[in-house]
């Protein structure tokens, strides 16, 4: 496992009465090497708080976080992480080249020749070669997001943690960034863990999901399993004399009743299929369920 989180708890204090407000409750999940994992949850569910705990920006009350089987605050494990925060603000007084050089050097890239080569490659990858010597203050939001991705990738991280990387971008900007993320996975072999509200993009990119609701991880596993778990409707196909009939039921209990009914009437059941859902619909269903 590249990342393991066990029983993570984090409380915030109310600013006035200092009462504890639990924001993460026994959060546990793990991420395998060479995978793209989506981190899903509504606003305020605890996604950014979890990410900040992973990165050591927030101190947690209890639990354990291991990165590459080491303590998550260890310098050795930090060298292998790339991070793009939500709504990133960067040093606007630096040019794109200076900016990437600064982060590259901070990440332990000592050979200037190699670093320059890497910077040229990344600027090409994110489509900003023309802006190498421009100050970041002259960059548009989309350009800032792309240079932010480049800073996260500059030291060839093994794990890339992205917090809402696609929010606030136009469709073209989103497409470009999705391609960069896909490239980091395909060409650089990075494991990617990213949170997003944009389920279409998560659906397109991710193989696995971690779903958090009100500070608790409710699902961690393959995307297909989440979609199936979310789907509650079943299609029953049975035969009455020579005619084939279909019936849709909306829960597992109803399905049992329907099966019993069809069988008691002596009709053969031809098939029972669970309805296929989009990730978007499965997530909406999941959010609306009170029992989880």
């Amino acid at each position: 496992m590249i990342l393991t989180v066990r029983n993570l708890n984090k409380d915030f204090r109310h600013p006035w009465n200092l009462k504890k407000i639990p924001v993460l409750k026994d959060v546990s999940f793990s991420i395998e090497k060479k995978s793209i994992v989506g981190f899903l949850g509504a606003n305020g569910a605890g996604k950014t708080t979890t990410i900040k705990c992973l990165l050591g920006l927030l101190k947690y009350n209890s639990g354990e976080i291991k990165l590459f089987n080491q303590d998550h605050l260890d310098n050795q494990s930090r060298m292998k992480i790339g991070y793009l925060p939500e709504r990133p603000f960067f040093y606007t007084y630096l040019t794109a080249y200076e900016f990437l050089k600064f982060y590259g050097q901070l990440s332990g890239m000592n050979s200037l020749k190699e670093l320059n080569k890497r910077i040229d490659y990344l600027l090409e990858l994110v489509g900003l070669s023309h802006a190498k010597d421009l100050f970041l203050t002259q960059f548009s939001k989309g350009m800032l997001q792309r240079i932010g991705m480049a800073q996260a990738l500059v030291h060839k991280p093994q794990l890339l943690i992205l917090d809402e990387p696609l929010s606030g971008l136009d469709p073209d900007g989103r497409r470009q960034l999705v391609n960069i993320i896909q490239n980091a996975f395909d060409e650089e072999g990075s494991t990617i863990f990213f949170s997003s509200h944009l389920l279409d993009d998560i659906d397109r990119l991710c193989q696995s999901l971690v779903v958090i609701k009100k500070g608790e991880v409710k699902f961690s596993g393959l995307k297909e399993d989440f979609v199936i778990q979310g789907a509650r409707a079943f299609m029953v196909q049975y035969q009455i004399n020579e005619k084939i009939e279909f019936k849709k039921v909306n829960s597992f209990d109803q399905l049992q009743i329907e099966i019993d009914q069809v069988r008691s009437q002596g009709h053969p059941i031809l098939s029972i299929e669970q309805e296929r859902m989009s990730l978007d619909r499965a997530f909406k269903e999941f959010q609306s369920r009170e029992d989880i």
């Binding site: 990165l55 930090r78 793009l84 925060p85 709504r87 603000f89 982060y103 990440s107």
Partner: protein
């Protein structure tokens, strides 16, 4: 291999050198300094002495103001703009980050001081004031006072917003120059309780007047090296004390 401290220090230096606000403050400081010299010209006698005195006082105030501005703004800006997030996830400890910031700002202060010395020398030369090595002793005091003030602004900025942090730092600067008088007053007081309180306050703050060698410059009298050594040692210890306090607070800080 470049140390992360040096990389952060270089970046901080670059940040300030490219900041237009800093140039505005410097221009204002130079104008203020020139005004102080001009005021000295209004004197009927002792024009040279008064020019040096007012000029050095002007530089002193500007330098202290600049130090507080740099310490409060740069530190807060980094947290407020969240640029600190992408830094602290790198193989860089919070202590290394603070040391780098501190050294970068100290380098900026030294650069500014060189500018001020150049302006001072130029104006003195224009006025025909005889320049002696003793005239420059106060600048040693300025930089060490700046080192303490910078550490104090770091300390306040680690838990306060810039306005409060700069107000507290300014109050600290004023108290630091006032405790000397308080201590002198306590020696002449007959009240034991006043003596106790005055001494307690005196011991709780650095006596910034020990770094003030303006009178020597005006009187063109030499400062004993022992006195300089003693003052800068104490100043370094105070700066270290406040810096370590800010490190302790910063280490436990949550970036929500």
């Amino acid at each position: 291999m470049s140390s992360p401290i040096i990389i952060v220090a270089k970046n901080t230096y670059l940040e300030m050198i490219r900041d237009r606000v800093l140039y505005f403050v410097i221009v204002f400081s130079i104008l203020f300094m020139a005004l102080c010299f001009a005021l000295g010209q209004l004197s009927y006698s002792e024009i040279f002495r008064l020019s040096v005195s007012l000029g050095l006082s002007g530089i002193h105030l500007c330098f202290a103001g600049l130090t507080i501005f740099l310490g409060c703004v740069v530190f807060y800006r980094e947290i407020e703009s969240k640029t600190i997030y992408t830094l602290l996830v790198r193989p860089l400890t919070r202590t290394q980050y603070l040391v780098g910031k501190y050294l970068g700002l100290l380098a900026i202060l030294l650069t500014m001081l060189v500018c001020f010395i150049a302006c001072f020398t130029f104006i003195e030369f224009i006025l025909g004031v005889p320049l002696m090595p003793t005239t420059y002793y106060p600048f040693i005091g300025f930089i060490f006072e700046g080192a303490i003030l910078l550490a104090v602004t770091f300390f306040f900025s680690s838990f306060l917003k810039p306005f409060l942090s700069s107000t507290c730092s300014l109050a600290f600067f004023l108290i630091g120059h006032w405790v000397y008088n308080l201590e002198a007053l306590s020696k002449t007081s007959k009240s034991d309780s006043f003596k106790f309180v005055a001494q307690a306050i005196y011991r709780s703050f650095p006596d910034l007047e020990t770094l003030n060698w303006r009178d020597y410059a005006i009187a063109q009298a030499p400062v004993f090296p022992r006195e300089i050594f003693y003052a800068i040692t104490i100043a370094t210890l105070w700066a270290l004390f406040f810096f370590l306090l800010s490190v302790a607070i910063f280490k436990g800080k949550d970036f929500e």
